[in-house]
């Protein structure tokens, strides 16, 4: 297979799987199997793409063979390839979890189809080299995620879903306006071409305004301060599978888009734009973690932590040094694995102890020590305990902050880390350690909660994700080296631009 085809393979696989699962919707078992198979295929293609990019640098392909910058370019540098590979991993493990968790009526209502379309949309956003095309992928994601959010149609879900879709429409409108003004300024929407032509724009002030519009649009998408309110309002309402998928991928698409435009395009007034980003990063970390302290509902608590941790990624982008960007990418990868895993675990907690509310559950340690251990891995990684992955992510970012003499942000990052630990210990104490309010009978074992072999469909994804978290921590050296290469490609865009324009053909 030609390497260029690897760029469209994830999209083709996801959408073809979406069609196949739709055709099989009246036979949920078959549709579920197709969904898992498609996700496995997507992961294989994504890993092949990653291997290609690691070995030979950024690659690009021109859709419909129209030369850049006139057509739509698909391009993958190391950051894109890492994100697509991570999407593949998450798509596969969460699809397996879905087999045991999603009820039959939702499956026949098209759950697997929307799931695959969302995965395809996310991959598209990571792989496109064109700003307007990025907008289209955002819309695909918005439609598919809205469908997943309200599928089942309880009152609570519709309430969260409307908030979600309303504010996200504002975000995409803002994004579209920004795209239009930028096109008016430069006459191009190809990102590599923009990288070169923003240098020729005379009106730097207007360019900064456009940058801020992008910041607003992507900021809503990635739930940064003060634009995050939609996230805790909606993430705790759908099935756990959907929460986990959203927690893993959706906000990260926003963060990816921020990293992309603020390293490739808006680098002319770094003193202003990246200072704004730094302030936003600090406030996001603090408000997110403080919001979490007040929560007693596991999924709401975790949703606030997503916000807090988005702050760390933005911090890495704001500092704009190789180490900081590498830290941001490492942290993003770690966070996707650990946070999605915590959501998956919360689903098992509810099944065995009966509720998402920490006040109503307990005793999980005694009933399910294996689950407790897996929770500890994910939670303490999130809190940044060595040698787990969260520790290295925070270490890189704080080191980068100190190197850049941004002592305030480094202090904030450290303090927020401690508060994160507090929240994780709260879940541990309330959910696992203290006795169940209803006595020992309140908690059932995993095998009793899910008879038959289905318990493994829930537990295997959790075990795999916990394993990956541990591996990321133990093999931090080689992983960080890859991240540093990715950061280097972001800061020196020559290879990216050359791939877009030079592939010729």
């Amino acid at each position: 297979m030609k390497p260029e085809l690897l760029l469209v393979a994830p999209l083709v696989i996801a959408f073809a799987t979406g069609i196949a699962t739709f055709l099989a919707r009246r036979r949920p078992r078959l549709a579920g199997a197709l969904s898992v198979g498609g996700a496995a295929l997507l992961l294989a293609a994504a890993l092949a793409l990653l291997a290609q990019v690691v070995a030979a640098g950024p690659i690009a392909t021109q859709a419909a063979n129209w030369p850049a910058p006139f057509g739509i370019t698909f391009v993958a540098d190391l950051l894109s390839a890492i994100m697509v590979a991570t999407t593949g991993v998450m798509a596969l493990v969460i699809a397996v979890y879905a087999l045991a968790e999603i009820p039959r009526p939702l499956e026949s209502a098209g759950f697997h189809t929307f799931y695959q379309i969302l995965i395809g949309g996310v991959c598209g956003a990571f792989l496109t080299g064109d700003l307007f095309n990025l907008y289209v992928w955002f819309e695909v994601n918005l439609m598919a995620s809205f469908a997943l959010l309200v599928l089942g149609g309880s009152r609570e879900q519709l309430d969260g879903g409307i908030k979600y879709v309303a504010i996200n429409l504002v975000a995409t409108a803002m994004f579209l306006v920004a795209v239009a003004v930028l096109y008016g300024l430069t006459g191009t929407l190809n990102m590599a071409d923009l990288h070169q032509s923003v240098g020729r724009v005379g009106d730097v002030g207007l360019l900064t305004v456009v940058a801020c519009l992008f910041l607003l649009g992507f900021g809503i998408k990635s739930a940064v301060f003060p634009l995050f309110f939609w996230l805790p309002a909606s993430y705790h309402t759908p099935p756990v599978t959907v929460s986990a998928l959203f927690a893993a991928l959706l906000t990260k698409v926003g963060v990816y888009a921020l990293i992309r435009v603020f390293t490739l395009i808006f680098t002319r007034d770094v003193a202003f734009t990246h200072t704004v980003l730094l302030v936003v990063a600090g406030l996001t970390m603090v408000t997110g973690v403080l919001g979490a302290v007040a929560q007693m509902q596991v999924r709401r608590l975790l949703a606030f932590h997503i916000i807090s941790q988005i702050g760390y990624m933005i911090m890495g982008l704001a500092l704009m040094t190789p180490l900081a960007l590498a830290g941001a990418i490492y942290f993003m990868l770690h966070n996707i694995l650990a946070k999605a895993n915590l959501f998956l675990i919360s689903g098992v907690m509810r099944r065995t102890a009966g509720s998402f509310d920490l006040g109503e559950i307990g005793g999980l340690w005694k009933a399910n020590p294996a689950l407790a251990l897996l929770f500890a891995v994910a939670a303490f990684s999130l809190a940044g305990m060595p040698p787990l992955s969260g520790f290295w992510g925070k270490l890189l970012l704080i080191k980068a902050g100190l190197d850049a003499e941004s002592y305030a942000i480094a202090a904030v990052a450290l303090t927020v880390g401690l508060l994160t630990l507090y929240s994780m210990v709260k879940i541990w104490n309330e959910g696992f350690w203290k006795p169940h309010p209803a006595g020992d009978g309140g908690v059932v074992t995993l095998a009793a909660a899910l008879p038959g072999g289905r318990v493994w469909l829930l537990m295997a994804p959790i075990v795999v994700l916990a394993g990956l978290t541990v591996a990321m921590g133990l093999f931090a050296g080689p992983v960080v080296r890859v991240m540093l290469t990715a950061a280097d490609q972001l800061l020196n865009s020559d290879a990216y631009v050359a791939a877009v324009f030079g592939s010729g053909r």
């Binding site: 260029e4 085809l5 469209v8 959408f15 073809a16 979406g18 069609i19 859709a63 419909a64 698909f74």
Partner: protein, 148 residues
């Protein structure tokens, strides 16, 4: 699924009489836009939206029940069929060793220097987009109309 207020819904003679005329014209215009998009402004997306407007008008004047019957197929089936068309059209390129979505042209008649009737897989792609838009928007529209 039937709308609970189907029977009591106010009907307007003017609207239903006008719809009979306008909806047909709009559907023809949508196909015109779809085909015009081949070499000029237009295309599957905008054509699809015009077709949706025709069905929305029809649903307003006659009810979604009647609109669904006229549509013939469930809208979600139309959307997925469109996705399949678009994807299939895109894959013609890679099968022939060219990038994704590359147009492959078949010229019927003509002398090789222009003239003749040229057709390509891009038409199939555009038809796919048309169907996706019609199917997806009508799915949402009918669902909203029936919930209220």
């Amino acid at each position: 699924m039937t709308a609970p207020n189907q029977g009591t819904r106010p009907t307007s003679l003017i609207l239903s009489a006008a719809t009979r005329l306008i909806a047909g014209l709009m559907l023809m215009f949508s196909v015109f836009m779809l085909l015009r998009g081949h070499n000029a402004p237009g295309g599957g997306f905008v054509g699809g939206l015009i077709a949706v407007t025709a069905f929305a008008l029809y649903a307003k004047s006659r009810g979604t029940e009647e609109a669904r019957r006229t549509l013939g197929l469930p809208p979600e089936v139309i959307a997925v069929a469109g996705l399949g068309c678009a994807l299939g059209a895109g894959l013609v390129g890679p099968l022939l060793g060219r990038p994704f979505l590359t147009g492959q042209w078949l010229v019927i008649g003509g002398d090789g220097h222009g003239g003749g009737f040229a057709i390509s897989n891009i038409v199939l792609f555009d038809i796919g987009v048309y169907l996706v838009v019609v199917g997806a928007v009508l799915t949402v529209l009918f669902a909203l109309e029936e919930e209220v």
